[in-house]
Symmetry: C2
Subunit: 259 residues, 2 copies
C-alpha cells in the first residue's frame, strides 16, 4: 500500500521543501511512482519540480476547498514522468481561513487522496506532503491524511526549541483525528561538519530519537540550493554531488526501514 508522509516542522527554513523534493526524486529515479503534494502557499515544492506556479490553473486549493478530484490537478514533474506533483498557487493563501467553516475541514485532504488512489489503475508507492512553517489547518490536513511524519531538523541552535510543541501537536492529532499517525523519520539537514554546533545538535537529536533519526545526514552543499533555480531536484541537476548522494542514501534508508 502507499506510504504517505507529511514533511513538517513549524521552524522555518529547515529543509522541508528541499527534503520533500529530493527524497521524492530519489525514489522516482529508483523506479517508484511518487506524488508530491504542495501545501505551502508559497509553492516552493511546485517550482522546485519545474512546474509554473500559475493562478489560472487548478491547484491543490481546488481539491481542498472546491472538491475538485485530485486527478484533474496532478501533473507530471519536468524531470520524470513517475514523479508527480499536486501544485500549489496563491489561492492556497486564503485556504486556512476558508477551511474553518467547511464541513470535515480536517479530513478534506484525506478524502481527496483516498478517492485519487482508488480511481488510479497503477498504484502510487510514496506520497510526500510539503507543509508551510506553521501548525494551522493546512498542516492539520496533512497530519490527518498521512500515516507517517518526517521531521527535517536543521543542525542549528533553534532546531530543538520548537520540537516539543510539534511533538505535542502530533500526539493531539493521534488522539483525536488520526490514530495511525506515527513519527517514523527524522532527517538531519544542512549538516556542516566543520562546526561544533552542528555536531552537538546532531548528537542531541540522535540521543532523543535513536530509532527515528536516519543514519544519513544531509550536508550543507551549495549545489542543493542551486538546483531549484533550474526547476530541478539536486538528483537531476548534479547527480554526483554530495547533496544528491546523501538524499539518495536517505531515500534508500527510508524504503528499507518501512513504516
Amino acid at each position: 500500500s502507499t506510504r504517505i508522509f507529511t514533511v513538517t516542522n513549524q521552524k522555518g527554513g529547515v529543509g522541508k521543501t528541499t527534503s520533500t523534493v529530493n527524497l521524492a526524486a530519489a525514489l522516482s529515479k529508483a523506479g517508484l511512482a511518487v506524488l508530491v503534494i504542495d501545501l505551502d502557499p508559497q509553492g516552493n515544492a511546485t517550482t522546485a519540480l519545474g512546474i509554473e506556479n500559475r493562478n489560472d490553473r487548478l491547484s491543490i486549493y481546488d481539491a481542498l476547498v472546491n472538491d475538485v478530484p485530485l486527478d484533474k490537478i496532478v501533473v507530471p514533474s519536468a524531470e520524470d514522468a513517475r514523479l508527480l506533483s499536486a501544485p500549489a498557487n496563491l489561492d492556497l493563501a486564503g485556504a486556512e481561513i476558508e477551511l474553518v467553516s467547511l464541513p470535515a475541514r480536517e479530513h478534506r485532504l484525506l478524502r481527496s487522496i483516498d478517492a485519487y488512489l482508488q480511481a488510479r489503475d497503477e498504484p502510487i508507492d510514496y506520497i510526500f506532503i510539503d507543509c508551510p512553517p506553521s501548525l494551522g489547518l493546512l498542516t492539520v490536513n496533512a497530519f490527518v491524511a498521512a500515516r507517517e511524519v518526517l521531521i527535517p531538523i536543521q543542525c542549528e541552535y533553534y532546531a530543538l526549541e520548537g520540537l516539543s510543541q510539534l511533538l505535542a501537536n502530533i500526539d493531539r492529532i493521534k488522539q483525536h483525528l488520526n490514530p495511525e499517525l506515527t513519527l517514523s523519520t527524522i532527517l538531519l539537514t544542512m549538516y556542516d561538519s566543520r562546526t561544533r554546533l552542528a555536531s552537538e545538535v546532531a548528537a542531541q537529536v540522535r540521543e532523543h530519537f535513536p530509532t527515528q533519526t536516519l543514519t544519513t545526514a544531509i550536508p550543507r552543499a551549495v549545489r542543493v540550493s542551486e538546483a531549484p533555480s533550474y526547476g530541478q531536484s539536486v538528483i537531476a541537476y548534479d547527480p554526483g554531488s554530495t547533496g544528491a548522494l546523501a538524499y539518495r542514501e536517505s531515500a534508500l534508508e527510508i524504503a528499507r526501514k518501512g513504516n
Copy 2:
C-alpha cells in the same frame, strides 16, 4: 518619537529573529533604548536575549489576549539593561485562534504599545517586532502596530518567490488598517560571496528595491548562528566577528536613513 519596525517574511529561516536581535543589540550598544517584542510562539527572540521561555510567567500573549499592561511583561535582556524584551511563550501558539473572536483583534498590539510608551518616563528609541513565518493575525497585529516594515531576504533562490504575496499583504494593511505603514528597509542576509546564486539574488533585490535595500549585506557566518546558544547577540558574543560588524553597520545605516 519611537521608530517601530515589524520584521516580517513568511518565508521561513531567512534571518528574521537573528536580524531583530542583532540590530536591537547594536542600537542598544550605541546607547539607545530598544524593545524587542517576540510574536513567534517558538520564542526564538526570547531565548536569543538570554531570557528563559517559561510558561508560568507573563508573556506577550497576556498583553494581546488578557489586556495585561506591557510594563508588567517587559524584562531587561541578559546582556544590556537598555535592551528590553517582551517575551513569548507557548501560550502564544493558541493566540491566532483566540484573537479571531476578540474585539479590535487587529489593534490589540498597537493599543498595548501606545499605552506602554505613554506611561513610561524615559522614551524608547526603537521597537522591533519579530514575527512568525506566516501572515496570520499575529503578523497582522505587528503590521498595524508598526510604522515601518523591515524584510530580511536570504540570498537564496526561494527568496523572491513569496515576496509578491508579502508586498500585496502590506498594501492591503496600508489601505484598510494602517495608512502610515511603509516598507522602509530590506536587509540581505546569509550572503555567501563565494556562490553565484547569492550575488544574483542580491543584484535582483537591489534592482527591484534600490532605495530600501541597505548597502550592508549580512554575511553567512558561523559565529552568528552560535551566539543564540549562549543567550547572547553576536554583538555581545563576538564583537569583532564579520557578522557583528555587519549588523552594527546595518543598524547605523537604519539610524541615519530615518523613516
